[in-house]
Structure formats: structure tokens, C-alpha cells
Amino acid sequence: MTLHVLWPNTALMTVLAGAVLMAYVAFNGMLLVWLERKVSARFQRRLGPTEVGWAGLLQSAADVIKLLAKQLITPRHVDRPLYHLAPVLVFVPVLAGISLFPFDRHLQLHDFNIGLVLLFALAGLGFLGIFMAGWGSNNKYALLGAMRAVAQNIAYEIPLILATLPVVLLARTMSLREVVEAQHQLWFIVQQPVAFAIYFIAAVAETNRAPFDIPEAESELVAGFHTEYSGMRFAFFFLAEYTNMTIVCMIAATLFLGGYIGPSWLPVPGWVWFFGKVYLLLLVMMWLRWTFPRLRFDQLMSFAWGVLIPLAIVNLLLTAVAIKVWR
């Protein structure tokens, strides 16, 4: 049973909602870039951006203008259709992905009964774009980066999915809204701390963030799969990466941290809770990035296959047994 909360029944409404989401994605990207700079600066005992706007808040806006005015270089011998399509294909699914979440009890574009699967399906499209970028660039570093990206992303998608399964078991639904509604008594992180840990580690790897930033390891592959991209095309990759970070944190908040649910005695609207949790998780991701060095590729792979996947399977099994025993 699906709740049509904010069903955009007219074409105009859909377009309007799309425009709002688009604006959010752009704003969120700029905000996160600013936040990353500030957070990294604080970690490294620096100040970060201070000049443009209050506390450097407009630095990202200045960067967008700079990126827009940059020369778009298309290197010779690239595979043109792949090369031009790749940044778009990386960027487009994230917008659709972000539209699936219940931001508040009555603030959701549409609640799909297979919301979770749809999310992972959309995320899968992005990897295709990354590989197209690497293959089409006619560049060895880009190809190596793309190979790494695909191997890494598919290896970590398995523990990611396996870690969400216990939640589905407990909530008996794949609809994101209903998963949140099932957490009124207890957030799922309390029952599933291991699943949350596995999910979060896999999510960091899925978004190619340090210490799993192997596909774009700048000290090894220069810039990895987007080595040959400049200006606005590079910006698409950049924006997609930050939006993907937001999406995986939104999934974590929805599945494990009770989404828009907060302590009922606090007069705080649900969307504040939701975004509060999301940005808190994003800060944790930044904290990880500025603390850890990078893993080596084979270590990364054996960590997924040898540690995360078996652990996730055991956790899933234990959850299933526990449900039986307690019933």
C-alpha cells in the first residue's frame, strides 16, 4: 500500500518538483564543497576559505562561475559519443535518486514500493558513466581508474545490499517511507549495529571517497577516470560525487537512523531531523577522508570479499534466526 503523499499529478507539478530538486542538488553540492574545505582546514589547523562571502561561503559559487568560464578541452582520439555522454550519465541518475526519499512525513515526491531497489538500480547507472569516461578518454590513467572504479563499486555493492537486507527483514517492506514508519519505537541501528557499520563502510567505498578513493587516487593515477575532463564536464563528475555522498547518507539515515523521526517531545519538524542526520553522516565521511591514508587496490578488494561480504551474510542469517526465535 503506497501513500501518495505529494503526487505531482500535473505535468507542471512534476516539472516544478524537478526544478526544486535540481536546485537542491546544485546548492547541496556547493555547500558540501565549502563544508569539505572548512572541515579539512580545521583538521589541518588551517582556516580554509575566508575571503569570498561570510566565512568563505560564496567560494563555491565563485568556483562554479570559474568552471563555467573554463575552456572545454576535448582531447584528440577520444571516443566522442562515450566521452561526451559519460559526465551526463554520471550526473543524471543522482537527481532521480535523490527524489525518492521521504524528507518528512508529508514531503515525498512519490513512495515506490520497491524504493530501495530502485535506488540501487539508479546508482548502478552512474558506474556505467564512470566506465564510459575511462574507456572513451583514450588515456591510460583514465582507463586504469575506470577499471578500478568498476571493480571496486561492484565489489562493494554486494555488502551494501546485504547490509540493507536485515532492515528489510525487520521492516517487511522495501518502501523507504514504510521503513521509516517502522522505526517509531526503535531506530534500526540499535537492532542492527553491525549492518549499519557494514553499510557505512561499503557506502564510503561506493562513493569513491578516501580511504577508498582508489579510482581517482591522485598520487597514483593523477585524476583517475576524469583525467581528461575539464571545465563544466569535470564539474558534473564532481557534483555527482557529492550528490552520491548525500544519497548514501540519506539511505543510511532512512534505513538505520529513523529518517524524519526524532524524539517526539521535541518540537522540531521532521525534515530538520532528516537533514540533520544526513549532514552529520556526511561530516563523518569527511572526518574519515581527512584522517586515513588510502588502501591499496588488492587490499580493498580482499576487504570486501573476505571481510565485509561474509560478515554481512552471517549478520543476515543471525537476524533471520532471531526473528524466528523471538516469534
Binding site: 503506497t2 512534476t14 516539472v15 524537478g18 526544478a19 535540481m22 568552471l67 563555467l68 568560464a69 575552456q71 572545454l72 578541452i73 576535448t74 582531447p75 584528440r76 582520439h77 551526463v88 550526473f91 543524471v92 541518475p93 537527481l95 532521480a96 527524489s99 515526491l109 512519490h110 515506490f112 530501495l116 574507456w135 583514450n138 588515456n139 591510460k140 590513467y141 582507463l143 577499471m147 561492484i154 555493492e157 554486494i158 545490499i161 546485504l162 537486507l165 528489510v168 527483514l169 522495501m174 571545465g231 563544466m232 564536464r233 564539474a235 558534473f236 587496490f297 588488492d298 578488494m301 580482499s302 570479499w305 573476505g306 561480504i309 551474510i313 542469517l317 533471520a320 524466528k324 516469534r327
Partner: protein, 134 residues
């Protein structure tokens, strides 16, 4: 749910596509275009690349891709099972006729068999050292 309910997603995809196209066009209009021979060289640490990158590549990557296909599809089958787990346990409605509402661990056994195949495959791959990177 009918397929039309996915229409908003399609609309969003079109909007994003339009946005991407518009931004690229804008960048093309605003940015300069002064290509030189050196600028258009593929980057390879400042040297002319000797040959195309699209050569034979390490087989490990294909191995991982194959493994992924198996595991990801298996994992995807877990979702409907997870949703219906309690109904599968005979006390629920799906198999009511089979075991007359007794609380048997039917759903659990069902999954165990499925999982056994998965774990066996993983163990086999592990033994064959297909996951080691050299």
C-alpha cells in the same frame, strides 16, 4: 502499481538531461576555445602516448565482473524473500495450505538453502584464489 507511476522519474531524468545539456552549452558559450596540438594530447605525464590504451587488460577485472553478476543477482533475490519472510513461515498466509499454520522455520530453511549455494560459491572462489590479486 502501474508503470505510469514511474513517469515522474522519467520526467526528472529528462529535466536532468536538459540541465546537463544547457550547462555544457553555457560553458561552451562562456569559455574560450583555443585548442593547440599540445593541449589536445592525451595526458600521459607529458609524453606522447606510444600506443592506444585500449589494449589487452588484466583478466582479474573480468573475473570480478563475473563474480559480481552472480552475487548481485542472488542478493537481489533476497529482497522479496526478506519482505515476505514472516509469511513464508507457514504461520503466515502464503503456505497456509501446506503446513496448516504451524510455526515452522520454513522461510528460514528456504533461505538457508539459497544462502548455502551462495556461500559455497564464495568458498569455492576463495579456494581457487580467484579473489587474490595476482
Amino acid at each position: 502499481m502501474s508503470l505510469t507511476s514511474y513517469l515522474p522519474i522519467a520526467v526528472l531524468l529528462v529535466i536532468a538531461l536538459g540541465m546537463a545539456a544547457a550547462l555544457t552549452l553555457l560553458a561552451r558559450l562562456l569559455g574560450p576555445s583555443r585548442p593547440t596540438a599540445e593541449k589536445l594530447l592525451p595526458y600521459e605525464s607529458g609524453l606522447d602516448p606510444e600506443r592506444t590504451p585500449q589494449l589487452r587488460f588484466g583478466v582479474q577485472f573480468y573475473r570480478v565482473a563475473l563474480l559480481f553478476l552472480v552475487f548481485d543477482i542472488e542478493a537481489a533475490f533476497f529482497y522479496p524473500w526478506a519482505v515476505l519472510y514472516r509469511e513464508l513461515s507457514c504461520s503466515g498466509e502464503v503456505f497456509q495450505g501446506v503446513c496448516q499454520g504451524q510455526s515452522t522455520p520454513f522461510g528460514l530453511l528456504l533461505m538457508l538453502v539459497f544462502l548455502a549455494v551462495l556461500v559455497l560459491a564464495l568458498a569455492y572462489v576463495w579456494r581457487k584464489k580467484a579473489l587474490e590479486w595476482d
